[in-house]
Amino acid sequence: MSTTIDKDDKDDKDDKEPIIHVRNVVKTFGNGVRALDGVSIDIGRREVVVVVGPSGSGKSTFLRCLNGLETADSGEIVIDGIPLDHNRKNRLEIRKEAGMVFQQFNLFPHMTVGRNIDLAQIRVRGASTEEARRNTCELLTKVGLEDRVDAYPAQLSGGQQQRVAIARALALRPRVMLFDEATSALDPEMIGEVLDVMRDLAREGMTMVVVTHEMGFAREVGDRAVFIDEGRFIEIGPAAEVFDNAKEERTREFLSKVL
């Protein structure tokens, strides 16, 4: 299962074609709650889209649908030309294309930091141990944790764990990064270090979908902002515009509460 994809090849594709294409996605949970009620968006390459909204509005569900952790009931999701359907091969491709960072970090506690990041490179991309470790060290340097490669997750602070989780998500060189409230479980003094890493990623041109409660960060880093409520995209627009002059009443109401 180690189909290596030549990344350069893909860059030749039309740069204007959206890398994430979402049409009319509906997701209903077993208890009848409509988490997503027909949402659509196109996200271009190198774009940073921030998703904000009250809790329970469907932010996380939207993100989890993008890499197939949740399966949408209907609608269409295409990531970098690969349709997210029931085809197992496509789903695997999409998981490789989209890195995900969780609120609860979800590091593998029985592996060292290094092994956490090596694993997918070796098993999914078929890299050799040395090759993987070289890449792992590079990634750890990027997030400022090159000296913790042999530590176990339990020995790290929350902020450090989340930075390792970001490095792990980057290990397969994804085209898209999904952040699911990456700083919500952190103590205030650790939020900054994680946001810094995310900011660097955005600056390097990574396509990012960021679900966050950090409004200052969202306005600063986001190219576009999406306000979601009750499973619908209420407002989509340039981040500065949405945050400063929201068109919709509900958006303004929400922002006045959290800003």
Partner: protein
């Protein structure tokens, strides 16, 4: 002056575990005396000197195991065979329960319900008196089969619990990094589950040793059966049953103690709060 140092010495002693341990020893001694006194009052003659030859004898300078040690050998052999078989059964049952196949799930559920809702002794009789004659099994096979099926049911729930107790985030993280189901199981889920499963599984092995005493009811000459035979012949009821209990205790307590050591060893380094 002198009395003050003495007083300080006593308050110091009172804060150490010494008085508790002394109290505990005194309690045990009192219990033992009461027991000895009562049995003697009821006309029981203690004859500890007759016990040793049932454990072993030295004949012609050689070590000859007595019936109790021979029985222990049988017990250990039954336990070893059942342990291997029961873990196999447990693994298959746990995988059946977690599988997508409706048939496999049903088979596992029916098996678990039947085993968990009937006594082991009845299962032993059922295997020995009903199943064994049908397929031509001997008593040994019947005993090992019944024990394995019984312990396997409980062990399978331990295994299943170890796998399902893992937070969903671990699966999701594995999938999100691109691992397939097999790799997620192999590198992420099973290694963590194993550490959770092993300690209770050793505990289940302790149960197996205890429960193996029941095979004496279908005429397997294990440690308990040997005890019964000796008691019937010599009427040394207390001496023999104490020795038998002690032999079992030494084995099971050693195993139980190793469980807590194991738990520390396995989880100590990365005690992790999900």
């Amino acid at each position: 002056m002198r009395s003050r140092t003495l007083k300080r010495f006593f308050t110091h002693i009172l804060r150490t575990p010494v008085p508790d341990v002394l109290g505990f020893v005194a309690l045990l001694a009192a219990l033992g005396l009461l027991f000895a006194y009562n049995t003697a009052a009821l006309g029981y003659r203690w004859q500890w000197h007759r016990v040793l030859r049932f454990i072993f004898t030295i004949r012609d300078g050689g070590f000859v195991p007595g019936p109790l040690l021979t029985g222990l050998g049988v017990t250990l052999r039954v336990v070893a065979a059942s342990l291997v078989l029961s873990i196999l059964i447990a693994l298959v049952t746990a995988l059946f329960r977690l599988s997508r196949s409706l048939l496999a799930q049903t088979i596992a559920r029916v098996y678990l319900e039947v085993i968990r809702n009937t006594p082991l002794i009845v299962q032993l009789f059922f295997t020995y008196f009903v199943v064994a004659p049908l397929v031509g099994m001997d008593g040994w096979t019947a005993a090992i089969l019944a024990l394995s099926l019984f312990e396997g049911a409980y062990a399978s729930e331990i295994i299943r619990g170890g796998i399902t107790s893992l937070p969903a985030g671990q699966w999701e993280a594995a999938y999100s990094t691109g691992l397939g189901r097999r790799d997620a199981l192999r590198f992420v889920v099973l290694p963590q589950a194993f550490r959770r499963i092993l300690p209770p599984l050793v505990g289940q092995a302790v149960s197996l040793i205890k429960d193996s005493a029941l095979v004496s009811t279908i005429a397997i000459y294990d440690l308990t059966m040997s005890g019964q035979v000796i008691v019937a012949r010599t009427f040394l009821a207390f001496e023999i049953w104490f020795v038998v209990a002690l032999i079992y205790l030494v084995i099971t307590v050693t195993l139980s103690a190793s469980v807590s050591v194991l738990r520390h060893k396995l989880l100590g380094k990365y005690e992790y709060h999900y």
